[in-house]
Every structure is written in structure tokens, then in C-alpha cells.
């Protein structure tokens, strides 16, 4: 329980510090493009219902994308990492396509899938997919032979080796990939929502910018930041639950 309280106190302190810095910057720069936190927060409160529904739209897109990216990327990466023959075929394809910035496909996806949810989810899950795939593959390759041998000596078949060794061994690293790609996912979400469509926080922020409503723009930015923090915290809590053993022996 005390860990939770410490976390809450940490967050409160960080928020206070950010608000003070923000206010100071706003006074220093003295430009209408950088209103202080009070203006932004009062706009946030005033427009809360509208912002909540836009946040809901964005949250759905990013959550669906992350889940889709993991659901395909993690099993495929683990399988490639454990199957040298399949890996020999697919690894070059992965290495060739991984460094290509996926955002450049947004125009293609917009044409193929329209300006609704589908194109945005496809783009973000593509990015998450590659990050999780590459990490999961490396993690699966790094699994100690002794772990596999000891489980196989107990009579485990391929599937049981996967379940008792490969998945749990790779899970902490998949979570790391997930944390990193969530940040990317939200950035790409903003980009794709601001380029096309008329819903979501990215659209809301760019729309407010166009109307020179800087207070509202910052209200949207705060909502987007909160969305990121909530997702991140959710992943943290899930890892704490699923990878308890990584904290064992560390006091």
C-alpha cells in the first residue's frame, strides 16, 4: 500500500513542478500561443464533456492498435526466435522493413481504408507490431539452453516449452517494447488524427490551433498527456502482476 501512496505523492510533486515551470515559461515568453496553466485548465473543465468524448475516440484507436500489434507481433516474434529455419526466411524481410518509417504509409492507408478508424489503427498497429516483433524475436533467441533442456527432459512438447519457458522468459522484454511503443503510438495517433478525419484529440488540438483558441488547444494537449499517462500506468500495473518474479531477490 505504501508503494502506491509513494507513487501518488511522486505524481503530485511532478505535476506541481510542471505547472510552476509552465506558468513561469508563459510569463517569460508572454505570447498568446503559450497561455498559462490556469487558462488551459479552466478551458479543460469548461469543455470536459466534449474533450472526454474525443479522448474516448483516441483511447479506443490507440488501445485497439496496441493490442492488435502485440497479438500479432509477440507470437510471431517468439516463434521466429525459436525456429531457426523459419527465421532464416523471414528475418531478412523483417530487417529490411523494420527501419522504414511506417508513417509514410499513411497516405496509402487513407486511400485504401478511408479516413475513419481503420486507417489510423492499421498505421499504429503496424508500428507497434514491428517493435514488439523485433524485441520478442531477440528475447526468444536469448533464452538459456539449460532452461529449455530441463523442461524438455520432463517430457514437455513444443507447446509446453513455449508456455513454461519461452513466453515467461520473454515477457519482461515484451513489456519494455510495449512501454516504448506506447509513446510512439500516441505520437503517431496525433499525427494521423491531425492529417485526416474530424474526430479524436489530434484533430481537436489542430482544430483549436486553427481557430487561434490557444487555451482550448492546451486543454487538448493536457487530455492527450493524461491519455498517455493512464496507458503507461496500466502497462506498469499489468507487468507488476505478470512478471512478479523479476523483483524477487531484489530488496
Amino acid at each position: 500500500m505504501s508503494a502506491v501512496i509513494r507513487r501518488v505523492i511522486g505524481y503530485a510533486g511532478a505535476i506541481a513542478l510542471l505547472l510552476i515551470g509552465w506558468q513561469a515559461a508563459s510569463w517569460l515568453i508572454a505570447s498568446p500561443a503559450l497561455p498559462g496553466p490556469f487558462v488551459a485548465l479552466s478551458d479543460l473543465w469548461r469543455l470536459r464533456s466534449e474533450l472526454l468524448s474525443e479522448t474516448g475516440v483516441s483511447a479506443w484507436r490507440v488501445t485497439a492498435s496496441v493490442l492488435l500489434g502485440i497479438a500479432i507481433g509477440a507470437p510471431l516474434g517468439l516463434a521466429l526466435g525459436r525456429a531457426p529455419r523459419a527465421d532464416a526466411v523471414f528475418a531478412p524481410i523483417v530487417f529490411l522493413s523494420y527501419p522504414v518509417p511506417k508513417v509514410v504509409f499513411l497516405p496509402v492507408l487513407l486511400v485504401l481504408l478511408g479516413i475513419g478508424d481503420a486507417s489510423k489503427i492499421a498505421l499504429i498497429s503496424l508500428i507497434v507490431f514491428f517493435q514488439v516483433l523485433v524485441t520478442a524475436r531477440d528475447a526468444a533467441r536469448a533464452i538459456p539452453v539449460a532452461s529449455v533442456l530441463s523442461v524438455r527432459s520432463l517430457g514437455a512438447d513444443r507447446w509446453q516449452v513455449f508456455r513454461h519457458v519461452v513466453v515467461p522468459a520473454a515477457l519482461p522484454e515484451i513489456f519494455t517494447a510495449l512501454r516504448i511503443s506506447t509513446g510512439t503510438a500516441i505520437a503517431v495517433l496525433f499525427f494521423s488524427e491531425s492529417v485526416a478525419g474530424s474526430s479524436g484529440l489530434g484533430y481537436y488540438i489542430i482544430d483549436a490551433w486553427g481557430r487561434v483558441a490557444y487555451g482550448e488547444m492546451f486543454a487538448g494537449i493536457i487530455a492527450m498527456a493524461l491519455l498517455g499517462v493512464v496507458l503507461y500506468e496500466f502497462i506498469e500495473a499489468l507487468e507488476l502482476r505478470l512478471c512478479r518474479w523479476t523483483r524477487a531477490g531484489r530488496t
Binding site: 533442456l149 530441463s150 523442461v151 520432463l154 517430457g155 513454461h164 515467461p168 522468459a169 524477487a248 531477490g249
Partner: protein
Amino acid sequence: MTDVLIDSASVTYTGVERDVRALDSLDLALGAGEAVAIIGPSGCGKSTLLLAMAGLVGLSGGSIVIDGHGVTAARLRTALILQDFGLLPWKDALHNAALGLEIRHQPLVDRTRRATEALERVGLGEFLDSYPAELSGGMRQRLGLARALALDADLLLMDEPLSALDALTREDLQDLLLELWRQRGHTSVLVTHSIEEAVFLGRRIVVMTPRPGRVHAVVENPRMGEHGYRATEEFYARCAELRRFLADEGAVHGARVAAPPAVGAS
């Protein structure tokens, strides 16, 4: 009970440049309930022999027959215990001990009971929910043993199981291994590079030749298992005899070993 018949077993690993012959038509017969220690220079194929007996490495020639059945895959009541204990860091002691039973689809209640009993037997009854990282080296090896006991294994294959432990813990666990063998009467194969350990835990001691692995000599050790054997004259005599055999192989400070490099000023 479980006897093991190894008949001109050969194992060849496919290497990058050329194939490596790890075992070369090795013959060995183990009676049911016998305790055998295998010793030899590193790279003599001791571990390969053990893995082949566990059904994890395929033979390129010959056969291994356990309890009347040829070994082709992992056998139900064979337990393999490795140097790093083969524990899974993400499972607590209870789940590690119960893993073999879980893989063999035993019901949850049954496997929890048997794993708990096994853990109590090796002195880990208080540590059911500890992860391996929270246990000391000796306790981890006890946990590895508990897994074998939970399976009710009748053939224990151990690959240098105690070599990572400090001297005192090692003696403690050697006593435990001996005690369990005396109580349960399982067939025991211990691969070790410690001469004392081989004499303490092997009624017969098999000395292997360097690669390709063959049986160089078999030393009878009839008083093994007697109380206080470790302190007797005969124990030391047996160790000396074994040391001579190994020196012939060039495995221990024999004439064929190059002189150590001169120690420089530090």
C-alpha cells in the same frame, strides 16, 4: 526396477567445419538401483552421455535401453538434474517442483500435494512461495532434487549438480543425495569432475577417455554408502587410485600437462 543397458552408443554432433564425435561406441551396463559416478577430463562426452540417456540427444549408432525400452524421447520417470539446477526463475518453489507433474497433466490437487511433500523432504517446506532468486545455491539444488522426487523418478541423471556450490554446502548436499538414494533405491548416474564426490556417491566409478568418449576404466567402490566412509583410509586410497587413472588420461596434474605459466611480479 530400472536397469540401463548402453550398447556401443555413438553420438556425432554436426559442426560448422567438421562433425564432432562426442561418444564413440560406448558400452555400459547399470543394474537396477545402482549408483554410478562418471568422471573424466572435460570434453570427454560425459554430459552428452547423460543427455542421450535422458532422450534429449539422438544416437548416431548403437542403443540405450532403459527398463527394457529403447530410449527415443524423454522417459516419464527419468529425472535430469543440471549444473544450474534447471529451475525456471519465473516460477516459485512449489511450481518449479510441480513442473514435471504439470507437464504430465496430473490434476492440480495431486501435483500440489506431491510437490509439497517433496519440498518438505529436502528441507524446503517453509519456502513454497519463494522464487529461485530468493534461495541460496544449496537451496536451489534442493529444489531441483525436489522436482525429481515429486516425479517419483526411478532414474536420476545428474550433470555436475553440485559444482557451483561452496565446499560445505556441497558436502551437505552429497549427504542428502546419499540419504535419498539409500531410502529410495533409485538408479543414480552422477557426472562429476570431483574425485571425492565420485568416490562418495558412486558404487562403481566410470572413468572416460577424452573425445571421442569411451570407457577407460571402471573402478569398483564396494564400501560406498557406509556410514563415515568419507573419513576412512579406504576412501582416501580409492581417491588416490582414481587420481592415477585420471593422470593417465592427462586430466589432472599428470606428466602430460604443460607447466603452469610463470607468475609475474604483481
